[in-house]
């Protein structure tokens, strides 16, 4: 089998200097691989992905040694545009890659540059629209798309150009579980049927681990290549099924629910734990007969909801179900078209009664250090208080003097959450708070949310991250088409769902949500 992508002793340091982002990396990815880059935030994954088509070092600058060879072409001798016929790249922020205005034209852009003839181009656009289920969006302006839609359009635009190698940086971070499954299935079909090579970085390992056949394990700029199970074991990370497998000593380490069920079937399980429902405080947020939306359509219809102090409510549902709109209404920045919304007994004042960390968390950051960023919130409240307390709470005290711009996307998100939480509003709203977070950061966020709710605050999070909801929510509200279709304890709501069930439920049955619960029971 020939090699699609080869790194020969590559060492790279960004112009700002410091530690090399890639440190003597040598690897070869065979043609037709479905490869996963895995490792903590800031370990060099994005850098390696961007080196695959020469964006590093040609656009980044910096010191580069060694050679990267793509389908036989050296990336130093060929600018990215000369590699566009063999390798396509989809970055972390899919909206940033859009050049044209309409979805259909955006899909054709790469082919136009490659000089593909008109008839062929037309056919390929139609096929790609079908492949990623984008037909209803074809004449929309890319600026009006939701995050999940943008992500699918960016992937489609890369695919339409017909590359031999597709490189994707967190391609499912804004997709609902079903949407992510569909995209990965489409990629696998291209790998299996057409010999395409796919290299992707993803933190939500439970989504991707079962699909890939090769893993690149990152630690401090060094990379080890091998079968996914071996690499994950070495890094001490993995989807919930592998984490429980490592604890229970299962060998080979399972990567999928199916593999884990073979081991689990043999072990007798005790009764699942029953969630404690005591200690709930008074209502913090009360919503009655809420209707809200935009000029074109209602995003929320006739919703009643009461959230009490101490509750952590996960609002879930597919892309476009109305999750973000509900959070914006609760935060007091989106006026309801009908109904009554009260937070702490009054119409919510943003940043006072309710505080929302939006999906575009970067819009918040304007100070030149992480500490100053949190202090800005405290000053707005007329406090001189201790910014360090909020940094400690989120486990980012070590970044206090760093400039937010120099942090990874996941780290910036934690900074934004700290700056929002510092309002000390009784209702904390988090919109998709695990984008770009590695497992340790996610664990820290879970700890923070639990402690914050434990002090009598209410937390509402909109998320596609099933494992986050399983770990931290005391209640799950499922939305579809702006209406509530399920509301209850996570074990009941998630356990009943084919799409939203966490891995532990799928392996061990109803009532089991997290690795910690199962580990305790089988210990």
């Amino acid at each position: 089998m020939s090699v699609a992508l080869r790194f020969e002793d590559v060492t790279f340091t960004y112009p700002e200097g410091g530690r090399p982002a890639l440190d003597d990396v040598a690897l070869a990815i065979p043609e037709g691989s479905f490869a996963l880059a895995v490792g903590p935030t800031g370990s060099g994954k994005s850098t390696l992905l961007r080196a695959a088509n020469g964006l590093v070092p040609q656009f980044s600058g910096g010191t580069f040694a060694g050679r990267v060879v793509v389908e036989g072409r050296d990336t130093l001798a060929h600018p990215p545009r000369r590699l566009a016929d063999v390798v396509a790249f989809v970055g972390q922020d899919p909206g940033a890659s859009f050049v044209l205005d309409r979805v259909e034209e955006e899909l054709a852009y790469g082919m136009e540059n490659l000089g593909v003839d008109a008839a062929h181009m037309r056919r390929r656009v139609e096929e790609t629209l079908d492949l990623l289920d984008l037909v209803p969006l074809r004449s929309r302006s890319v600026r009006t798309l939701s995050g999940g839609e943008r992500q699918r359009v960016a992937i489609a635009a890369a695919l339409a150009a017909g590359p031999r190698i597709l490189v994707l940086d967190e391609p499912t971070s804004q997709l609902d579980p079903q949407g992510a499954e569909d995209v990965l299935a489409a990629l696998q079909r291209l790998v299996h049927d057409h010999g395409m090579t796919v290299l992707l970085a993803e933190h939500r390992l439970e989504r991707v681990a079962g699909w890939v056949d090769l893993a690149l394990g990152f630690a401090g700029g060094r990379v080890r290549t091998g079968p996914p199970a071996d690499v994950l074991r070495e890094l001490g990370t993995g989807p919930p099924v592998s984490r429980i497998g490592a604890i229970a000593g299962w060998d080979p380490l399972p990567l999928t629910v199916r593999e884990a069920r073979r081991f689990a079937g043999t072990a007798p399980m005790p009764e699942p734990p029953i969630a404690a429902r005591d200690g709930l405080g008074d209502p913090v947020a009360e919503v009655r007969g809420l209707r809200a939306g935009y000029a074109s359509a209602d995003a929320i219809r006739d919703l009643d909801l009461v959230v009490r102090g101490g509750e952590v409510v996960a609002v879930m549902g597919r892309n476009g179900a109305g999750k973000s709109t509900l959070l914006r209404v609760l935060a007091g920045v989106h006026p309801p078209s009908a109904g009554d919304v009260r937070v702490g007994g009054v119409a919510p004042r943003p940043g006072v009664d309710a505080a929302l960390c939006p999906q575009e968390a970067d819009d918040l950051l304007f100070n030149d250090s992480v500490e100053a960023e949190v202090r800005a919130t405290l000053v707005a409240r007329g406090e001189t208080g201790d910014a360090g307390r909020w940094l400690d709470a989120l486990g980012i005290a070590g970044l206090a003097t760093r400039h937010p711009r120099d942090l990874s996307a996941g780290q910036r998100l934690l900074v934004a959450i700290a700056a929002i939480a510092a309002t000390d509003a009784a209702l904390l709203l988090l919109d998709e708070p695990t984008r770009g977070l590695d497992t340790p950061s996610k664990d820290r966020l879970v700890g923070f949310i639990r402690r914050h709710a434990g002090r009598g605050n209410a937390v509402v999070l909109a998320t596609h991250d099933v494992e986050l909801a399983a770990a931290v929510a005391t209640r799950v509200v499922m939305l579809a088409g702006g209406e509530r279709i399920a509301d209850g304890e996570p074990a009941a709501v998630l356990g009943d769902s084919r799409v939203f069930a966490p891995q532990m439920t799928r392996v061990f049955g109803h009532g089991w949500l997290t690795v910690e619960q199962v580990a305790e029971a089988i210990a």
Binding site: A96, A108, A331, A355, L364, T377, I420
Partner: protein, 264 residues
Amino acid sequence: MNARSIHPAAWIAWATCAGTVAFLTTDPVTLLLLWGVSWFVYANHRSDDDHARSFRVFVTGAVVAVVLRTALVFFGTISVANTAFSFLEGFRLGTILVIFGTFNAVTDPFGLVRMAPRHFHEPALAAALALSIAPRTVASVGRVREAQRLRGLTVRGARSLPALAVPILERGMEEAHALAESMDARGHGRGRRSRYRPQPWTGASSAIVATAGCAAAAFLSASAGGWAVLHPQTSPLVWPETAPILVVAVALLAVPGLLGRHAG
């Protein structure tokens, strides 16, 4: 029928002709009519919220331009005649801005790139990117203001300028960089190019070019003929006269508003 059925080149022709008319006159009745015509065309063709917001910004800019230009009189001899003259000069400048705002709101700048001949692709793309800056920045201002409100910061006054400007500028820089990267990574500038579904020229496009052309021609001949109605006298200040033929000419510029009301 939708907005796409009017060819971008027809919009360029319309904007150029309307701009020429505004440039050739300081008659307040004509200029006021041009504001009305612009609004009418915009209202029937605006494509989405971002464009609507950017149109409002252009109108605000136009009003500011009128006020500032009129205020210039305070640096010289203040008289009714001078003030009226300054006001009319400002009104003309503001009108040109409103016409440009309409053009910006009804066209897809990237539609222009698609129709540029191959040799002009690069400058056309640069122009399209420049044109897209206004709606992008306006959208960005809205988002950042809201984000700061979410943590209790009121973005108003000079002290809170960094809270607004820093994220917008940083995001703007990042977006520009990301766009340049994306274009290169997707093969821009390889030399060969083909075109996906070029937009057809329609009867509506011809009608727009013809009527706008007539309007501009009427004003150009009036200007060449030295018609006094184009520049009403301000000293002494008298109520401006209007020539019916020129009113008809301005009305012709409203034709795009009658053709192809944009659905949705």
